[in-house]
């Protein structure tokens, strides 16, 4: 039976809810940049301040931070990789009551959308 996940209030979400290794479960690509590291990612590892993006044949490391804008009622991520610098809006974060299972949906400024899940 799939784990029951609950929507997290993104306005009050602690940063450490994002820490850990996320697998890309689904993606909606943007036609302009389908070959970017993030578009091809299969895993994202978010540790405090550091980011590792894994694709089938490559790895990219960088930095990330969670930011908030008064005009947006949801936080967004600043992602800095060597080849790519972008922002991604957190549209949804769901967690199981024990916190062991999570689902994260990111909407990038390019229009790309990634659905991440953990554990992988």
């Amino acid at each position: 039976m799939p784990e029951l996940l609950f929507d997290i209030n993104l306005l009050e979400m602690p940063d450490d809810y994002l820490n850990g290794e996320w697998c890309v479960e689904d993606r909606v690509l943007n036609r302009n940049n389908p070959d970017s590291p993030l578009a091809r990612a299969t895993k994202l590892s978010l540790q405090p301040g550091s980011l590792l993006v894994q694709a089938p044949d490559t790895e990219n490391s960088g930095q990330w931070s969670m930011e908030r804008d008064s005009l947006l009622n949801r936080p967004y991520l600043e992602l800095q990789l060597l080849q790519e610098e972008t922002r991604a809006l957190i549209t949804r974060l769901r967690r199981s009551t024990d916190g062991l299972h999570s689902q994260l949906i990111l909407y990038f400024q390019s229009g790309m959308e990634l659905q991440l899940a953990r554990p992988c």
Partner: protein, 177 residues
């Protein structure tokens, strides 16, 4: 054969047979209680669904086992109010079938009054509304999904607009140099 007592008994028996036929034929669970709420009758469908007979209804065990835990307090309150006031009883609640699964029912009861206005007895039915409830829950979920999708769309548009604003600002700064 023309004995009035025999005729009366025969008519009463026919009436009872008709009543039982009707009460067991209709798709509802049927129950009667005395003015205090003490059960005096269940139709066959009740026993077939719940597994409880009239004898089992004495004491709290049947109701505690039958009603969904989340519905017990509300059911007690609504039924208590009707018993106290004589107002029409109506409630949606979940009953556990004898196979252990719960189904939603619409419970309704109407009192029959004595000539002096006191309650003679209550006539109640429970109508299975499981399918309607499932449709209702599915529609509610769909409505919430649509609301979420609309909220997502709004915030995505704002996010993209802010990005465009930033790009325009950056270009302006470059041009200004």
């Amino acid at each position: 054969m023309n004995n009035p007592v025999f005729i009366e008994q025969s008519l009463r028996q026919q009436a009872e047979e008709k009543f039982h036929f009707l009460a067991d034929f209709i798709p509802q669970l049927v129950w009667f209680t005395d003015p205090t709420g003490f059960h005096t009758y269940f139709n066959q469908r009740w026993t077939d669904f719940t597994g409880y007979t009239l004898e089992d209804s004495v004491g709290p065990d049947m109701w505690n086992n039958l009603l969904h835990p989340d519905d017990r307090q509300r059911a007690r309150q609504v039924w208590g109010h009707s018993l106290e006031t004589g107002e029409f009883y109506e409630i949606e609640y979940r009953f556990k079938s004898k196979d252990g699964s719960y189904r939603w029912f619409l419970g309704q009861a109407q009192p029959q009054f004595n000539e002096d206005g006191s309650i003679k007895q209550w006539y109640g039915t429970c109508t299975d509304i499981q399918e309607q409830k499932e449709i209702e829950f599915a529609l509610r979920n769909r409505e919430q999904e649509l609301e979420r999708a609309y909220a997502d769309l709004e915030v995505k548009v704002t996010f993209r607009n802010l990005e465009l604003e930033r790009e325009v600002q950056a270009l302006r700064q470059q041009l200004g140099k």
